[in-house]
Assembly symmetry: C2
Homo-oligomer: 296 residues x 2
């Protein structure tokens, strides 16, 4: 009669994942969002882990939860463990498909800056399989499976990770050539429809201030949730768009858009690319380097 171990099982892996997410993000709802499940599911997982441990990891309040003393002390361990697990899966992914490159980019950058450069990139790296995902927020690159990110950051963002500045961000009004005829002086801007991007609402105010333009009144404006839609509409002659130089350079050079006023204003932001740390390949860095040099 061999003594069969009443084996000490690990608590359920999913329960640990739920705890880690909720503790890191500071809320069950936020964890649920990250894990793509309902808050109820996360709450159940966390309860399961608490039952396993026999102690509370969170203290519950009417509005949200806070980590208990125990939870506080354990968060670091679990965070590190899951970091490693993510690292392991990323390594598995890139070893299984070494030529696969995933780029995460701001939607506007993906469409107006990155997209024109893709043909050049593909020509330079014919073996690479480059996919692009448009994200509103920069992802955690070590955790989600992106090898390169391209986002707009304020110049001061001195993060530790290896960042590469691809271009500065400058703005100036742009519009279709036909509409430009109506704009002789900056003051004429008060008489045309303005096109805005909904996440860059302050662009116009910034430009007016820095270009020292004073208008008697602010005209009507329409906003778009995607900058590329606003650019399309500007090309169609719908109005005047506050153009980001790096994003409309192609339209300016092919004449589909023109800049009626020369005042170019820096926004204080830069287009920044980052590599995923821990990637053992050379390809991502090569692609990033090529990205600096590639013209649209």
């Amino acid at each position: 009669m061999s003594v069969k171990p009443p084996r000490h099982r690990l608590p359920p892996l999913n329960a640990m994942r739920a705890f880690e997410a909720a503790a890191r993000l500071g809320g069950i709802s936020r964890a649920a969002d990250e894990l793509c499940v309902t808050p109820g599911a996360v709450a159940q997982h966390i309860k399961a882990l608490e039952d396993w441990a026999g102690a509370a990891l969170f203290s519950r309040h009417a509005r949200g939860v806070t980590l208990s003393d125990l939870g506080q002390r354990c968060l670091g361990d679990f965070e590190a463990a899951f970091d490693q697990l993510h690292m392991a899966t990323q390594n598995l992914r890139i070893r299984a498909a070494p030529n696969s490159i995933r780029i995460a980019a701001l939607p506007s950058l993906a469409q107006l800056w990155l997209s024109p450069r893709m043909p050049g990139l593909r020509a330079r790296f014919p073996d690479a399989r480059i996919s692009v995902a448009a994200l509103e927020q920069p992802p955690n690159m070590e955790r989600e499976g992106y090898d390169i990110s391209v986002f707009l950051e304020t110049n001061a963002d001195g993060s530790a990770s290896p960042a590469e500045v691809l271009a500065a961000d400058h703005i100036l009004p742009v519009c279709a050539p036909a509409l430009a005829a109506q704009l002789q002086h900056p003051a004429d801007l008060a008489d045309v429809l303005w096109l805005r991007d909904s996440i860059w609402e302050q662009d116009w105010a910034l430009w007016l201030e820095k270009a020292a333009v004073e208008l008697p009144n602010l005209p009507d404006s329409v906003s778009f949730s995607l900058y590329s839609l606003a650019v399309e509409e500007a090309c169609n002659g719908a109005g005047v768009l506050m153009g980001h130089k790096a994003l409309v350079e192609r339209h300016l050079s092919d004449g589909s858009l023109v800049a009626p006023f020369a005042d170019v204003v820096p926004t204080g932001k830069v287009i920044t690319a980052r590599l995923r740390s821990g990637d053992q390949r050379d390809l991502p860095a090569q692609i990033l380097a090529a990205l600096r040099l590639t013209r649209a």
Copy 2:
């Protein structure tokens, strides 16, 4: 319209666990055994991970599997990640119940060496909650939830982890006092029933050799899968047992067993205690130290 991420999900956690176990143990059946499921379940998990990666992690043969090149290179990552996950759960456990101490011990040691010392231990550490599990094999202490292990090891086992020698292992024949009357000379051993432990079958041969005893014939013997059962039977006068000194010392001192012959033979093994590395408490080390000094 916010751009909702087509979130990059991790592969299923259980699939990773199955891969890690199968890769580490070198077989699906062995992994199934460790995970307490059927091999079919493990095979399915591994296939799921391979599908996620888009490449094979094992090459299948008729007799067993071997790691593919890819699997080989990924094993280390996953092993490290799960090591950390186990570490995190152990830390959670001991933080939630700092006075809980779990000891893993060989069944015979648990019953005959450890058990008599427990009262002394409890008196010395009244707050500690000491539980004991009897295991045939030493557990992976970093992974399974044991804080102290007590096993019989060959002297040479120079493992890196902090080991503490509690006692050397010596053997000599023992029996009930009544039976001892029949044993005047070692040669008389040929005429009595021998009691054996099924995992220490060679004890008798070793003792006969080292004690330079030659017998004309070997007598009948019965074996027990638990040494403590054999000890009981010896006390009952059922026969002569090859006694391990450290395990029968209490019976020898209270007279329920006697040693008819004085030849004590070392087996080359030692009772060894180990602490789980990474334990941030002092209590386990204190208990181990006390264990050295505690008398039965």
